[in-house]
């Protein structure tokens, strides 16, 4: 059996690593892109591209292959956050005091927008199309939107989200709590301002 030079061994190891990275990144692309659309809007493709570059450069430091999807996600979230900061928009102030009192369930029941409906609350949700939901989410400040999207749309456990965002679990849970409340409130406000409170079936 011929002996291989150290360089040949290193080249092969590097080629194998490249193929592992290619397989991981290619498999995760649709999910990463969907997530980036929620977090960076129109900048999604650029954010994913930047994430690929950073991930490729750092791939050697990823010890556990199984952790690949979470690792890519945390890199992408940081790319999206940087873009959010670069845009430097001033997020609308959120009145946190009134937020805790808000219940979309009660609001719908009290306002009764569809008096002939047997499933008032579901009918309310069904009024929202994909673009409407995207717009409502985009209106949330980043600190609420990111944990909400990672937990409920991307399906990560809150402990994992805390690791990805490098925040204490308690902080993430508090952001999620407020994020959900704010999402409920903004759904109602959006429905009011975009004419979604009309009877779904003609009379």
């Amino acid at each position: 059996m011929g002996t291989r030079s150290a360089r040949e061994v290193a080249t092969q190891a590097s080629a194998e690593q490249n193929e592992r990275f290619r397989a991981l990144a290619a498999a995760q692309l649709p999910r990463l892109y969907g997530l980036a659309r929620r977090l960076a809007g129109d900048d999604a493709e650029d954010a994913v591209q930047e994430c690929l570059l950073k991930a490729y450069r750092g791939y050697g430091r990823l010890g556990d292959e199984m952790a690949g999807p979470a690792w890519l996600t945390s890199i992408l979230v940081n790319c999206c956050r940087d873009r959010g900061r670069a845009r430097a928009r001033h997020p609308a102030e959120v009145d946190l005091d009134s937020l805790d009192e808000f219940s979309l369930y009660r609001k719908i029941a009290d306002e009764d927008p569809f008096p002939y409906s047997d499933s008032l609350h579901l009918d309310f949700l069904h009024q929202f199309g994909a673009d409407d939901v995207r717009a409502v989410l985009a209106s949330l400040p980043e600190r609420y939107r990111i944990p909400l999207v990672l937990t409920y749309m991307d399906g990560w456990a809150t402990k994992e989200v805390a690791r990805m965002l490098d925040l204490p679990l308690g902080t993430v849970l508090a952001q999620l709590h407020r994020g959900r409340k704010l999402f409920e409130k903004r759904l109602w406000e959006y429905a009011e301002t975009h004419g979604l409170l009309k009877e779904p079936i003609g009379d």
Binding site: P30, L122, R134, T158, L176
Partner: protein
């Protein structure tokens, strides 16, 4: 029994499985007896499902092709 306000405040955490066993039992007890909070709990579950349904992991074919090309270029660069 815990109050409606307390039960409702923890509904999502209860659905997420992030409350302790004792709190979870207290919320379940409350829900089994309180019709209004039952409605709140049902709606919270619907809203969760609504978010999941709008997760949208589709990628437009052109963006997909561009990103795959970028990946190839990144890896196969000399």
């Amino acid at each position: 029994m815990i109050s409606c306000a307390e039960a409702v405040r923890q509904l999502w955490e209860y659905l997420d499985g992030t409350v302790g066993q004792a709190q979870s039992a207290a919320i379940e007890e409350h829900l089994s007896l309180c019709r209004r909070c039952c409605g709140e709990a049902e709606f919270a579950a619907e809203l969760r499902a609504f978010l999941v349904a709008h997760a949208d992991h589709d990628i437009p074919p052109q963006a997909h092709a561009r990103l795959l090309a970028a990946l190839t270029e990144l890896i196969d660069q000399p």
